[in-house]
Symmetry: C2
Subunit: 247 residues, 2 copies
Amino acid sequence: MNLNSQSPIPLYIQLAQRLRSGIESGVYTVDEKIPSENILADQFSIGRPTVRQATDLLVREGLLQRRRGSGTYVLPPPQKIDLFSLTGTTAALQKSKVASETQLLCKPVLLSADEVSTQSQLPAVLSQRELYTLQRLTSLNGKAALVEHMYLVADVFQGIENLDLENQSLSRVVSDEFHLHATAADQSFDICYPELKVAQALELESAQPALHVSRLLHFGDLQGAVYCDIYCRTDRFQFSQNITVTE
Amino acid sequence: MNLNSQSPIPLYIQLAQRLRSGIESGVYTVDEKIPSENILADQFSIGRPTVRQATDLLVREGLLQRRRGSGTYVLPPPQKIDLFSLTGTTAALQKSKVASETQLLCKPVLLSADEVSTQSQLPAVLSQRELYTLQRLTSLNGKAALVEHMYLVADVFQGIENLDLENQSLSRVVSDEFHLHATAADQSFDICYPELKVAQALELESAQPALHVSRLLHFGDLQGAVYCDIYCRTDRFQFSQNITVTE
DNA sequence: TATGTAAGGTTGTATTGACAACTTTACTGA
DNA sequence: TCAGTAAAGTTGTCAATACAACCTTACATA
């Protein structure tokens, strides 16, 4: 079985399409290996770097995962989780009936207004204020799903560093301990390649993108009391949202 | 100037980091070329394939664009557009004061219930119904930004194929002609690699991801009367959303 | 001065080859 | 039967080389 070297379509794209079809049709089974790079090179009469270019595409699409020394595996399709409605992340996960575990990557730390002013990615409403910052990793069914890097206005959330912030919805903590409820949010969505620490926490492959959501939460008159950068693996879980008109 | 070949960090990642720093610090200017692959290979004493591996990363991150025969260019950062609140896409763009142009890629076509039932990606609420389908490309400031592939319930939107659907908010058409207003939406967000036609319309590089949003719109009692797959280039524009609590 | 052509420069695709770092498998000895 | 070790197989990184397909630049001619 060979590829068409007279075709204007590059060989690596032809091979990628063959492999993609094989995955979709079940020829290659989820959680099992596809043939090794050397075997594919022989089968299709092309070089191993060209095979790697083809599998690079499918790794990036979230269909395959390479494991050094072991092989190249077919990944399962993503599950669906409502994450971007205003219910709060851990609450949404509990509703979705997936086993979820949240752990702190960084415990809450108090940042002075000077320190905050050096962090240019924070919204203007938070500049020049003291903030608590913390990072959490949430795994679903034992698999890393999302990382949250949160900033909370220190004045509003005094004492939060003494609370248990693992395996518990932040919105519940905010509600139970501070008697606040989010009333609105501004979010933006983009594709990014997270910094190394976040990529490692999410178990991302080299140059694998993540969905990045910047979320600024408003609590009635307390505008922008919480800011959160969320990094999601959309290849493992599909993140959804329900919204309604507010009029 | 050389890379550290004794480092455990691969050479291509070291070079990528050097180039990224150069872009962020302004050493390499937006809309101008970085040094050619051969020049970088000489400068850093590495092979051209290794240089290409490094620039591959930055192309994927949306920092660089390669143009065959011309060079490798630094791309400008994305602009911010509110797209995922419930205001409707073209209306949101008008509000953002970017020059926007919307053109049909496919005019509305009526799909029979049989044809609809073969399209597995549509939500269950739409199966077994006659639908109009159409595709639109929206460009902002002359640059392809998003593609919408829409499905509208035929009973509800009879006659829509006779309306002008270019350069006009669908939500306005729906409002003016059918006296309907979206009251809620279910959306999900993921990173995808669109099919060729969509990728071409968006001017995506090979294996460049797009943000994919599936949106099901509800019009009061008319649940799920419009379904839309939206593919966005988040490297050119940053897409945002404002949501509020509905209680 | 403008147009056309050729040469040079640039990125895109592909091959062959080598070695490192890892996992898996098979065999041997206690 | 179990543990340890070596060999084989797998992916990851790197390089040289070649040719194709494109763009840019410079020069010549009308």
